[in-house]
């Protein structure tokens, strides 16, 4: 149908976007890859030389790497568990006939719109601080020893803070999915004598399967890059206890100026993210057909 003229016009309209994204992806990624094979420290300019896989060898044999990899996995898994389970429960709760449903949804969704530095600092100081924080005051009121959250359970505290931000996201998507569930089907099952649990496991869960997969994959992509929350609360510490892969690369690059080593770390992070991305892309690709 489309004429030759229309087709070339269409190509012209897409070209700027494709060009820019190509540039944005190829140039820096290529440079990272190039740097990762160089001995290159910003503190020693002019001493740049090719070192082969040395950076990777150093990076992968650095105990900090394995700890940060472990921290990353624990953090992502912990947040996913809390947000998926909590989000499912909350979505089902809001989906019930209740008074003021719209307002409840507005209140629950709010944390997702709070900028990461604000939520991290508010939690760190006004809630988790053992002396003046609200949680400490409440535990003292009950005669308990206040907990110094970020010192005693640093990684768990980060998981809590980030979960608070992402729980609304999971809830909102699960709610959207629940609301597209065929009511007639549910009623038919009810008529046939299916109990609450049977309806939940046989109708609701299979219907939500797709939404759950999407939430897990998208959250993973974003959570692998959690940065501000760590920077303003613990700085990756104490020791390496809250250093994730993203944070480790940041410290190597911008605090130790080790461009080569940090680049090798960056490439490792890209590879890890791509494994997740592969599955996500397949899911989304199916919706295009």
């Amino acid at each position: 149908m489309a004429t030759q003229h229309q087709r070339s016009l269409a190509r012209l309209m897409v070209a700027p976007s494709v060009g820019l994204l190509l540039l944005w992806m190829i140039v820096p990624l290529g440079m990272t890859l190039w740097f990762s094979f160089q001995r290159y420290n910003l503190l020693m300019p002019g001493m740049v030389e090719f070192t082969g896989f040395d950076n990777y060898r150093y990076f992968l044999s650095d105990p900090g790497f394995w700890i940060s990899l472990k921290n990353t996995l624990i953090m992502v898994a912990g947040i996913l568990a809390i947000t998926v389970l909590g989000g499912t429960a909350l979505a089902i709760l809001i989906d019930q006939p209740i008074f003021g449903q719209g307002y409840v949804r507005i209140l629950m969704i709010a944390p997702f719109f709070i900028m990461p530095t604000v939520s991290a600092l508010v939690w760190k100081n006004m809630f988790m601080n053992p002396v003046n924080g609200l949680l400490g005051q409440v535990s003292r009121a009950f005669g308990l020893q206040p907990v110094d959250w970020l010192a005693q359970y640093p990684l768990f505290s980060i998981v809590l803070i980030v979960s608070w931000q992402w729980l609304p996201f999971a809830t909102l998507i699960f709610l959207t999915s629940l609301q597209s569930l065929d009511r007639e089907q549910v009623e038919a099952a009810e008529m046939d004598g299916a109990g609450v649990w049977a309806r939940f496991t046989n109708l609701t869960i299979p219907h939500m399967g797709r939404a759950i997969t999407v939430v897990v994959l998208i959250e993973t992509i974003f959570l692998l890059s959690v940065f501000a929350e760590i920077l303003v609360t613990t700085n990756g510490g104490p020791g390496y206890q809250t250093t994730t892969l993203t944070y480790l690369v940041y410290t190597q690059a911008l605090l130790q100026f080790d461009v080569g080593g940090a680049s090798a770390g960056g490439i490792v992070a890209v590879i890890l993210a791509n494994i997740v991305a592969f599955f996500l892309m397949r899911m989304i690709g199916k919706t295009l057909d």
Binding site: L9, V14, F99, R105, A110, F113, M115, V118, V122, Q137
Partner: protein, 276 residues
């Protein structure tokens, strides 16, 4: 009888849902309340919920001690600018792919999406070094461009899913009536596309406003938006809860209000149309 049971049930769930919602919202409420307290009241034991001397002093202090509105303005310029520039580039692309899909349109869309999957640390070092060489560190235009590129795939995807819902028959009908291409775009397509463009804009302003990886790494003072400015409260001196709260409240208020209007678009935009 049956009516009574459902009514009781409704009340139980209402109380439960409101309880949970208030707990989740509480940190935000607490921040807003604390911003109106004196520093002494902010750390009082037992905590004061509502009965304290309400004051606007913190809001004055935050502005007096640092150029708060300068940073606020940076946030506005960076988020609005990157969104506007992104829309300018994305609208033609999404338009063409929705109305003139070719054999490779699907592949192009998927490839664009894949650029979003790249973790930021993978390109942090080259961008930082390039910015250093080009004198773009701590410049608004630099961050603006990076955020635009970062969100471009989301913008294109969102617009694409909206444009695709515009029925093609309408175009054919208007062509039959003898409308020129220009009239077709102006009177038929634009009115139908505006809601989609508006929602895309809203979601991207929110994403850009809250972005805290590139803004923290690429700005320090001159171009620092609120994300970077608030991060400076992580190493405070003396009592600062009330001032932190005042700075935070002003930083989150505009986006919170916009966010409440964009709940539906959020689902579509962040799941790339995979959940509707």
């Amino acid at each position: 009888m049956a009516r009574n049971v459902t009514n009781t049930r409704k009340w139980v769930f209402t109380i439960l849902a409101w309880g949970v919602a208030l707990i989740i919202f509480f940190p935000i409420l607490w921040t807003i309340l604390t911003s109106f307290k004196s520093e002494a009241d902010a750390v009082a034991t037992p905590p004061k919920l509502l009965f304290f001397n309400w004051t606007l002093e913190n809001y004055h202090e935050v502005q007096a001690r640092s150029d708060y509105f300068g940073h606020f303005l940076n946030s506005v310029i960076i988020s609005l600018g990157s969104t506007a520039l992104g829309l300018l580039i994305a609208i033609p692309a999404a338009w063409a792919m929705a109305f003139q899909p070719g054999k490779r349109t699907k592949d192009v869309l998927m490839w664009m999406l894949s650029t979003k999957m790249m973790p930021a640390v993978g390109v942090l070092i080259p961008i930082y070094i390039l910015f250093q060489r080009l004198g773009l560190l701590d410049s608004r235009i630099g961050v603006l461009c990076v955020l635009m590129l970062m969100n471009l795939p989301i913008i294109i995807w969102m617009l694409y899913t909206y444009f695709r819902e515009i029925p093609g028959e309408i175009l054919e009908a208007s062509r039959m009536d003898g409308a020129s291409l220009w009239n077709e775009i102006l009177y038929v397509l634009t009115p139908m596309a505006i809601p989609g463009i508006a929602s895309t804009m809203l979601l991207n302003i929110i994403l850009a406003w809250n972005e805290a990886f590139w803004t923290l790494n690429l700005t320090t003072s001159q171009a620092a938006p609120l994300t970077t400015f608030i991060a400076s409260y992580s190493s405070p001196e003396g009592l600062f809860y009330a001032k932190l709260s005042a700075a935070s409240t002003m930083a989150i208020a505009p986006i919170l209000i916009m966010g409440w209007f964009s709940q539906k678009q959020l689902v579509r935009g962040l799941t790339f149309g995979a959940v509707k």
